[in-house]
Amino acid sequence: MIVYLLIVFGSLILLTGSALLALRWAARTGQLRHFQKTALSIFDEEEPVGQMTDAFPGKSLTPMQTGDEPALTRPSATLSHRMGEGRGEGAPESFSRIRKP
């Protein structure tokens, strides 16, 4: 039984040890710096900060209704953006009007 307990306890220590090693790697490679930049890394020109990217189907909001500046443009904004630019069709006329009232 002691051997098995050691296996279980060893796994506990090894799992924690692996986390510590990962933390060391993160510190060495600068992952624990530039937090603001990292927080913004999920946004880009396709889905910028300030743009709501999800809504119920067939619905959209005006900026005033979301209380943001700028705010939600339309459901699946990326989708419409993509369709408008990638396929040359399908982007609703509302898209540009909402972004630039």
Binding site: K59, G67, T78, M83, P92
Partner: protein, 498 residues
């Protein structure tokens, strides 16, 4: 797509330089297109298992207050139906949906298209083969009898092989990432992808393939069962929440520092938690005490995460009316806090001696596994599917029905069993109360549980219909060309759905 797809599989896994230089971040369209096949496969199979698991859940729940129901068929006795429910939802629905969401998130966060998609598709096929074999094995009476690991020995190695393929894929994708800074969701995903095979292989070897003896079985069992929640499902659920809340509302996370603190404290404390399930059991007291201390330490990641999510949402709560993803995700985030704090309380000896072995534990498990994780996965699917299929969800009403059915149903379920469990626990600790009287006391709560199960099932059916509908818009006789889907949207329309 540019260079990264060119190296061979061996080159991609080799630590040596492949000669491939990440030249640019992939467009989101490229990433979504590359993920389409594998992620859809995981979502479709996951949803199928969800429906199977729901049926078995209802049967098991009904049997709790009407034990004669389907009792004459060996395959449908409680001892088989209940583990089939657990394993179909855990390894069928939850794990497959989690893998699908993790694949998509990893590609997006690494800003690289999904490479070697055939690996992932093979993994999906084998995973489903393993789950199917396991389910039939349990129904045939081959269950191992070990909670959360009921799949027989001939099924679990298939799951492990499949998972190994996913891990290989994850290593490759991470190697070719084009985003140097790791977003907090990536940390959670990488940790989950690393931890799960460790847990699953160790537990299967020690409990199923070459079983240990005595109380060590219980120690390994609860080390696995608790950690599969906290080190597999929780990280993927939190990865989704940390990605989708900022993404949907268009605002960065309130404090990235807090999110990092939350991740590392979870990584350091969580894996010690499992032994608190064995309070009062014949294990060394220090082992259980260490686990209780670690459980209380979990307040740090839970509170930091809760503060961060709440502060990110402050000023944006009105958007819950407009975004289906946000509704499910925020519901999941709130439930994460509630489930974790309840878990901390349950780990205390004084609380545990009342509530252990009662229906309260079932409520706690569903608060974590359903109200938190499943709702977060539903929200993720609502976000991802339109991007994969390039179609909008067909029905806002069905989404609404799905949300209110599942949210309302699980709220009733948890409230009911929490209360019933407390009364049951107090009665069990009172030597003057006959056991049969305690059984009778719980029956109304079990009946309400079945009722709430039907409400949840109605939500699942709404989701299933909407899911099939959106797929039908891509293929088959109801196919619609993508651009038409978005036509007619008017900016003046206010998208409030009850």
């Amino acid at each position: 797509m540019s260079a990264p797809a060119s190296p061979s599989l061996l080159q991609a896994l080799s630590p040596s330089d492949t000669g491939v230089t990440p030249d640019r971040r992939a467009l989101l369209t490229e990433i979504d297109a590359s993920c389409r096949g594998p992620v859809l496969l995981f979502f479709i199979c996951g949803l199928a298992w969800l429906m199977v698991g729901t049926v078995f859940a209802l049967i098991a729940s009904w049997k709790m207050h009407s034990p004669d129901f389907l009792a004459n068929t060996a395959w449908l006795t409680f001892g088989r139906v209940r583990p089939v429910h657990l394993n179909t939802v855990v390894y069928g629905f939850a794990s497959e949906t989690a893998i699908g969401v993790a694949l998509w998130l990893m590609c997006r966060l690494c800003r690289t298209p999904l490479m070697y998609s055939w690996i992932v598709i093979i993994a999906a096929v084998f995973w489903n083969l393993g789950v199917t074999l396991g389910v039939f094995g349990i129904l045939a009476g081959d269950s191992t009898g070990i909670e959360w690991l009921e799949f027989p020995a001939y099924a679990s190695p298939i799951l492990f092989f499949s998972y190994a393929l996913i891990a290989v894929w994850a290593v490759i994708t991470f190697r070719f990432r084009r985003e140097t800074n790791l977003y907090v969701s990536q940390w959670y995903l990488l940790a989950a992808l690393f931890w799960f095979p460790w847990l699953y292989s160790v537990a299967n070897i020690l409990l199923v393939l070459d079983p240990v003896r005595g109380t060590t079985q219980a120690a390994v069992n609860w080390w696995f069962a608790h950690n599969v929640l906290g080190l597999w499902f929780t990280p993927i659920g939190l990865a989704a929440i940390y990605y989708f809340i900022p993404k949907v509302i268009g605002r960065p996370i309130h404090s990235y520092y807090l999110s990092v603190l939350g991740f590392w404290s979870l990584a350091l404390f969580y894996n010690w938690n499992g032994m608190h399930h064995l309070i009062g059991g014949p294990l060394p007291a220090w082992l259980i005490t260490v686990s209780i201390v670690a459980s209380v330490m979990m307040i740090i990641p839970v509170v930091t995460t809760a503060i961060n999510h709440h502060m990110t949402m402050v000023g944006h709560f009105a958007k819950l009316k407009y975004s289906p993803t946000l509704r499910f995700i925020v519901f999941g985030a709130i439930s994460y806090t509630a489930a974790s704090l309840q878990g901390v309380a349950l780990a205390l000896r004084s609380v545990n001696e009342v509530l252990h072995f009662t229906h309260n534990t079932i409520a706690h498990a569903h608060l974590g596994m359903y109200a938190f994780f499943t709702m977060a996965m539903f929200g993720s699917v609502y976000y991802i599917m339109p991007r994969l299929t390039e179609r909008e969800w067909p029905s806002a009403r069905l989404i609404s029905l799905h949300f209110w059915g599942t949210a309302g149903g699980i709220a009733i379920y948890i409230g009911d069993l929490t209360l019933g469990g407390v009364l049951q626990g107090l009665a069990l600790n009172n030597p003057d109360v006959p056991f049969l009287k305690i059984v009778a006391l719980t029956i109304p709560y079990l009946q309400i549980r079945s009722f709430s199960g039907f409400i949840i099932a109605a939500g699942h059916i709404a989701f299933l219909v909407n899911f099939i509908w959106i797929l039908a818009r891509c293929w088959g006789p109801y196919r619609q060309p993508a651009p038409i889907i978005l036509a007619g949207t008017k900016p003046e329309t206010v998208g409030v759905v009850s």
